[in-house]
Symmetry: C2
């Protein structure tokens, strides 16, 4: 059977209507609301075909049709036209995310919140990761008799602290001089070389403090590899409660449970796999492997710093979510975020990472 022009129009009508109303849509409704110039009977015949092709299904005999998973897939891949933002949406976005936040955490929180309010779905945003980033500078600051803080400044001006313990600890001046030495080592050698003779030689003045030095290098390595886990910012979880598909409290409970588990959220955002940096990806219903979220769809994308993807944004709604709006909004916010992050990290405008 061929998916001709008319079938496409009907399928589109069914999906549009179902997205708006959450009610199965029947032939009469389509004939009335969408100007296809054909009678309900004809529509019924076409719908019968569409059902056979697997794009729509019937909850029960005497009900209208609802889109199936592959129906949505077909719509999203081939039929959905990207629409412009409405004036209201554009206006909202303009005010929601201010350029002059000076903390990454606020920016991320703000972004999550703005998206959640605009779309009325749930959003998850990761903080920008600094994995693979180069280290610009490190400085040891005295804290205690056996404790120092290693302040690591990365290439993009993010600042991370690490607590360093060692039995033997130089005084403030000693720490300052040691910092200078370590910086010159970091500048001249790869991280893998830290056990080499030449590095040992460079640091021989501080031979007494080998424990300290080893711990400092450990901290440096963990910064570069970003072994500590990323922060996630979530907003609008409660929005899902507004949708009829989750008015069953038990369903809602399962979903909420999922949202409390970080690992789950990370998988949801696409986990390890690195999707193309500038593509918006849509995961429909059961396409994600998570049982709890089988009635949800995810629209997700990476945001960038320079050319590299440094973080992810996901918008989660019912399978029947408004893909077209969601994609437009996400697209716009990604564009905006890229600019802001560029200004924040790159331009050295600001990059407060305090704790």
């Amino acid at each position: 059977m061929k998916l001709n022009e008319r079938k496409i129009k009907i399928l589109e009508a069914i999906i549009t209507d179902y997205i708006a109303t959450a009610e199965p849509v029947g032939s009469r409704t389509i004939a009335r609301k969408y100007d296809l110039g054909i009678s309900p009977a004809t529509i019924r015949n076409e719908m019968s075909d569409l059902e056979e092709m697997g794009f729509i299904e019937q909850p029960h005999t005497s009900a209208g049709r609802i889109p199936s998973q592959s129906g949505y897939r077909m719509y999203v891949d081939n039929m959905m036209h990207k629409r412009m933002l409405t004036d209201d949406e554009a206006e909202f976005l303009k005010n929601a995310i201010s350029f002059n936040v000076n903390r990454v955490e606020y920016l991320m929180q703000q972004t999550a919140k703005a998206l959640a309010m605009l779309t009325n779905y749930t959003t998850v945003v990761t903080e920008p990761k600094s994995s693979g980033v180069k280290i610009k500078h490190i400085q040891l600051v005295p804290v205690d008799k056996n404790t120092a803080a290693a302040v690591v400044v990365t290439e993009n001006n993010a600042i991370k602290n690490h607590i360093i313990k060692a039995k033997n600890m130089p005084d403030a001046d000693g720490l300052y001089r040691l910092s200078g030495k370590i910086n010159s080592v970091l500048e001249n050698y790869a991280l893998d070389d830290i056990n080499s003779d030449r590095v040992q030689e460079a640091l021989k003045e501080f031979a007494d403090y080998s424990e300290l030095i080893v711990n400092v290098f450990k901290a440096v390595i963990s910064t570069v590899r970003q072994e500590e886990d990323v922060h996630l910012y979530t907003s609008g979880v409660r929005n899902l409660l507004g949708f009829p598909e989750f008015s069953d409290v038990n369903k809602a409970k399962n979903i909420f449970q999922a949202f409390e588990e970080k690992d789950m959220l990370i998988t949801l955002l696409g986990g390890g796999e690195n999707t193309a940096a500038d593509k918006i990806e849509i995961v429909i219903g059961g396409e994600n492997k998570m049982e709890e979220l089988k009635d949800c769809s995810i629209v997700r994308a990476n945001y960038r710093y320079g050319k590299n993807s440094v973080g992810k944004i996901g918008i989660i709604g019912p399978t029947r979510m408004n893909y077209s709006q969601t994609v437009s909004v996400l697209d716009e916010i990604i564009r905006k975020l890229d600019t802001i992050i560029d200004a924040m990290l790159g331009g050295g405008e600001d990059g407060d990472h305090d704790g």
Copy 2:
């Protein structure tokens, strides 16, 4: 009318039963389940009295009675006996919170989660605040042409970063020397004196960098006053969905909305008012002013570092929550937390506050 022994027993039975079942409890049920040695008819008479006294009420004519707000209040203040932890609970707690976490954030998150799992309610925990704490040491670390990081080490070995901007910035060595000067000023003068001639005199060598210096002092002051807002850790929000009182999705939605607003949570935890450091406080139903949470009760307490309250823990459940269990668990966890925090901050064991 007097609240005699028998009335007390009956009120207690009603509350216990209602907490367990969430169903209005009638005279026959009490006679059957609780061995009071009196007939339903007698119980009915007493219940009628209890209702007149305002401790219980009737949802409708042909239903049993449920405790009123002042009924719970009476129970909580005068009748509830603090019970021991069960073996299971004790065992769970022992495993749930590990002593060797090395980040305050993990500890708080863990605490929130453990409490939520144990009680099956929702918990909110603030991170320990360092407000009012003395500053031990400060060091400026170069970041950028116009940017430095001020690393502030407080008396209890917490470490906070602040980004400092200034048009005119000394080089690394200059920053190090300036740090030394500022430290000696901080040691010898009160923070209010920073505009005094003597302080100006002490820093005159760095007159070119007045913008930088002003910004550093601002950062120091904000650390001491803790003007930046505290982190909150929430867990088990979804638990509330399990209770029949919130099976109406709209009610649940309102509550969830409240939980997404930080200000709300802070008021919930007792906001500004400083309650006695070592008392567990119970706020029943509408006693809190928040309309959205009128069907919830809060059991809350402060945890300490040394003698000072440094943070708050709140457990939120339906008004019909198990106060007795909640209080015991909270009491135990506070005790435990005090020990851990003492070890973490005081003993200088560790206090990683990275960002």
